[in-house]
């Protein structure tokens, strides 16, 4: 993937089966998930239902159950699973040599579109 990557620190800072948050000035907060399987995902930290903070939900498989009303969201696609509808924007993420990187353009989102540098 072409683009600039933002180093957000070592993989060890997120316990497997949980998530931590990354506030972005002028844009939505991002939740970075670490599944029990050891995969990492990043999503906008807002449930499409009632804006619950997904980072605080229970992570199971590669889904998270929103802490407010238990909607299940796929961490891979951001799609709401089951009978509910909706989608959460996902942020491209890569792990390299034990560090987590997010795609800078996607992190900065609407506030600073193309050519983030």
């Amino acid at each position: 993937m072409i683009g600039n990557w933002l180093d957000i620190g070592p993989v060890t800072q997120i316990e497997p089966g949980s998530a931590r948050t990354l506030p972005v000035e002028g844009s939505d907060e991002i939740a970075v998930f670490h599944t029990m399987r050891g995969e990492f995902y990043a999503l906008v930290n807002v449930c499409p239902h009632k804006q619950g903070p997904l980072s605080q939900g229970i992570v199971h498989g590669d889904a998270v159950a929103c802490p407010l009303h238990n909607w299940n969201i796929s961490l891979k696609t951001g799609n709401v699973l089951g009978e509910d509808d909706g989608c959460v924007p996902t942020i491209p993420l890569k792990v390299d040599a034990g560090r987590i990187y997010l795609l800078r353009e996607a992190v900065l989102g609407q506030t600073s579109p193309a050519g983030a540098d």
Binding site: M1, L6, D7, I8, G9, V11, T12, Q13, I14, E15, P16, G17, S18, R20, T21, L22, P23, V24, E25, G26, S27, I30, V32, T35, M36, R37, G38, E39, K50, Q51, G52, P53, Q56, G57, I58, V59, H60, G61, D62, A63, A65, P67, L68, N70, N72, S74, K76, T77, N79, L81, D96, A97, G98, R104, V107, L108, T111, S112, A116, D117
Partner: protein, 832 residues
């Protein structure tokens, strides 16, 4: 080997042939040459440079050499004769240091300069050395080549302790080898699961158990802080982030590999993680090709051997002008540790569009998981029985539609290929009457069918009558099929299971946790044949509670299986902020406490301050990251967590009682305080509320609480199972006792019975209605020793629970749960 000479010889012999120089005498480099020779033996004059001073050997077989199962000679792929027979010049022990692309020549360390028409870079990969202090001490080795193996063997000859950093494929093979050579081995792995790139949590758990039973110590989630020296430049051990020190005379770094791109980068070839190549393995220079672990193809770098064969095929096709192209590989892995059968292939991380088929056979230590997407296999993890690994892998690579064999897929090729038998019901119907259905209890198909015909019309009834599926449950599917085949539509649905991940009910699970002494969530899932790899948001919190209740003091609470409120010890609100409720014993407070609450409310911008129905004060609108600080302030004034957020003891509501009230018959406030001090901190199936009223006027509303005490002149009436929620339920009278101590004992006993018997998320009211008041009464009152035993178990459990969670967090425990990892400011553009 006198390489430069033979190079000259081959130049002369080759005449006008094009020259091909290969950098790397490893598996990829030699395989590429073999493939080219097979297509057109006379096309190129070939020179191979190798950094190691030896012929080409099978690097992946170093593990058996270390383990003493093979000798070096057994793993040589191409001996000296091969180079001679094919007119290849081998320059070994003289690595290439520069590629001069302008002049089209390579220069080795000795100064030897060899021109090329085509260059193949096959430099492989380098072990990743974690840059911790002490990584350069003598005795810190990697596991990459024969020299490393020899160093390890020399260390093992003296016995003692070894540490392997990295619980991936390579690390575990190194650990196995050293262990067989007589060393006491500790594996230190950063991730929570061994081989997390190849295995899911369940299989990783089985592997860890097996290795531990073989005497290795496996530390997962362990971060190496430094390698300790003995003061004379040699390694003496390692220290972990948590301060643990482990003695070792040798430390093996097996934390991963990196494509070796140094040479290519220095030559100005385009590199990212690896050397960038197209489908013909051509780099950014049309005369330079690259192959093996050093390349990056379509965004991927490979560290396994299978892709290398396919890359070499494509490279040779291109180099002999019949380009076919490489399209990337689907990889599979087998662990080369004797006696452990483990297979993994493809993508098994699951996901929205994927479906899992899971089979667990606890008795035989088997775990199989096949991941499907659009009726095709995209991944598989097998542990214990890998016989069908290749079959799944084949189906996966061919992307075959498996919808026709889906039902029997997990049972393997022999079963699934039975054609018509692919329908499980048909397969079961085709079984003979004496075929064994339940291995645990030795029940044949004929016996099961007979008990169904005799009236057992549900799974539960079958279990009760003939014991089939009553033990481990792995034959549940077969019994259900027999019910369907025998009764058709008349099968009665069984009781509700704990969740969709299991066929067991809450009661089954609780019973089996005790019976089989299951003490960890992955263990429960394995032993009880969970159908999902790591459960769901329904079963995980339930199992966490059941284990916590069953093994007080032993079971370590799993925070990631907790709902947010219990993880953060505060109540999440609709805007994502939290509310904080300090405990007020029996509803009593002091000016000092009120002052501290007022100060905290101002300091942390509590937008709303509300008196709750449970006689305490709720501060709303607190930010997640401020929680530890506000708790520290409240702790300083002597207050602890009110557990207003938990499936736990909430409040003990009281009236003022005989101390002030002209109607009061007993010290209801005092008893309330004592009850709260006895019960606070206890985790329950659901929230639990207590009240004590000083007279039958019942100002504390004790008759709509989970446990209510109504004081009367002659003693205390104890009420149970009340609820003021969605469905109001007035309590039932349990009994009347004469002394305050009895009231306390009965309360402890009732709570413990509820804790041990109710389903997770079942309040006392529906629980009493489900099991019946008479049953509850009988369990508490019929046996004269019951109250004492239950109360004793509760008090024992409480010795581990009455530890203020706020104080621990305020003291810095799990600060990661409250802090952001970083912040992004668009102008600054950098993460903190």
């Amino acid at each position: 080997m006198n390489a430069p000479m033979s190079f000259e010889e081959s130049r002369q012999a080759g005449g006008t042939r094009e020259t091909l120089v290969v950098i790397g005498n490893g598996m990829a480099g030699c395989r590429a040459v073999e493939e080219i020779l097979a297509r057109d033996p006379d096309r190129y004059a070939i020179t191979i440079f190798g950094a190691e001073p030896r012929v080409n050997y099978n690097r992946i077989m170093l593990s058996p050499v270390l383990a003493g199962e093979k000798e070096f000679d057994d793993i040589v792929i191409n001996a000296t004769e091969w180079y001679e027979d094919n007119g290849i010049s081998l320059v070994s022990g003289d690595p290439v240091e520069t590629i001069d692309r302008d002049a089209k020549a390579v220069v080795a360390r000795s100064g030897l300069r060899v021109p090329y028409d085509k260059l193949v870079i096959a430099t492989g990969s380098d072990p990743f050395i974690i840059p911790v202090p002490g990584h350069d001490l003598e005795g810190v080795v990697t596991f990459r080549d024969l020299d490393d193996v020899n160093t390890m063997l020399a260390a093992a000859a003296n016995g003692g302790e070894a540490v392997v950093i990295g619980g991936g494929l390579l690390g575990l093979e190194a650990a196995h080898g050293l262990s067989l050579r007589g060393m006491k081995v500790t594996v230190v792995h950063l991730m929570p699961t061994l081989m997390e790139r190849q295995l899911d949590e369940a299989a990783g758990y089985l592997l860890k158990e097996e290795l531990e039973s073989r005497g290795q110590t496996i530390l997962t989630g362990a971060n190496t802080k430094q390698i300790i020296g003995d003061g004379e430049g040699k390694v003496a051990g390692i220290e972990l982030e948590d301060g643990t020190r482990i003695k070792a005379s040798i430390v093996v770094m097996a934390a991963g590999i990196r494509p070796a791109t140094g040479l290519a980068k220095a030559a100005g070839l385009e590199c990212e993680r690896g050397i960038m190549v197209d489908d013909n393995m051509v780099s950014s220079d049309p005369d330079v090709l690259a192959v093996g672990e050093c390349v990056q193809h379509r965004g991927l770098c490979y560290g396994l051997v299978a892709p290398l064969w396919e890359m070499c095929r494509a490279l040779a096709d291109f180099a002999t002008q019949e380009p076919s192209g490489y399209e990337g590989s689907v990889t599979s892995t087998k662990l080369k540790v004797s006696g452990i059968d483990l297979f993994s292939a493809g993508d098994f991380s699951g996901g929205a569009e994927c479906e899992d088929i899971v089979m667990r056979d606890a008795a035989r230590g088997i775990y199989k998981r096949v991941v499907l997407k659009d009726d095709r296999i995209i991944g598989a993890v097998l542990y214990g029985d890998t016989a069908d690994g290749n079959w799944y892998f084949d189906l996966m690579r061919k992307e075959e539609d498996i919808s026709d064999i889906r039902e029997g897929l997990i049972f393997g090729q022999a079963f699934a290929s039975g054609g018509a038998l692919a329908d499980p019901n048909a397969a079961v119907a085709a079984l003979s009457d004496d075929a064994e259905i339940c291995g645990c209890n030795g029940v044949s198909k004929g016996t099961v069918v007979q008990s169904i015909l005799d009236g057992a019309a549900s799974l539960d009834a079958v279990r009760a009558t003939c014991k089939a599926s009553a033990s481990c449950g792995s034959c549940t599917g077969l019994v259900e099929s027999l019910l369907a085949v025998t009764l058709g539509e008349d099968v009665q649905a069984g009781p509700e299971t704990l969740c969709k991940c299991t066929s067991f009910t809450h009661d089954d699970v609780r019973g089996l946790i005790l019976e089989k002494e299951l003490k960890a969530i992955p263990q429960v899932m394995q032993e009880l044949h969970w159908t999902t790899p790591d459960g769901c948001s329904t079963c995980r919190p339930a199992l966490n509670y059941y284990l916590l209740c069953a093994w007080p003091g032993e079971y370590e609470d799993d925070q990631k299986s907790r709902f947010v409120n219990e993880r953060l010890h505060a109540n999440i609100q609709k805007d994502g902020t939290y509310s904080v409720v300090p405990r007020m014993w029996g509803g009593l407070t002091t000016p000092n406490e009120l002052r501290a609450i007022a100060d905290a409310a101002e300091k942390y911008n509590a937008r709303t301050v509300k008196v709750t129905g449970g006689q305490r004060i709720d501060l709303f609108g607190i930010q997640k990251q401020d929680l530890p600080a506000i708790w520290a302030d409240l702790n300083a004034a002597g207050m602890v967590s009110g557990h207003a957020y938990g499936k736990a003891l909430r409040t003990v509501k009281t009236c003022v009682g005989s101390e002030w009230c002209r109607f009061g018959t007993q010290d209801s406030t005092g008893l309330g305080v004592k009850l709260e001090q006895m019960t606070w901190g206890s985790w329950m199936p659901h929230k639990f509320k207590i009240a004590v009223s000083g007279c039958p006027r019942n100002c504390a509303e004790a008759t709509i609480k989970d446990f209510g005490v109504v004081c009367v002149d002659s003693g205390y009436e104890l009420h149970i199972g009340g609820n003021g929620g969605i469905k109001v339920r007035v309590t039932d009278l349990l009994c009347k006792v004469e002394t305050e101590q009895e009231a306390l004992d009965y309360c402890a006993a009732f709570i413990q019975l509820y804790r041990e018997d109710a389903h997770y998320l079942e309040r006392t009211a529906p629980w009493v209605e489900r099991v019946g008041l008479e049953t509850v009464k009988a369990k508490l009152l019929d046996d004269p020793g019951a109250i004492e035993r239950l109360a004793a178990r509760f008090r024992y459990s409480q010795t581990f629970m009455q530890d203020d969670p706020w104080a621990k967090r305020a003291g810095g425990e799990r600060s990661d749960l409250h802090a952001h990892i970083a912040e992004v400011r668009p102008l600054a553009m950098e993460a903190v």
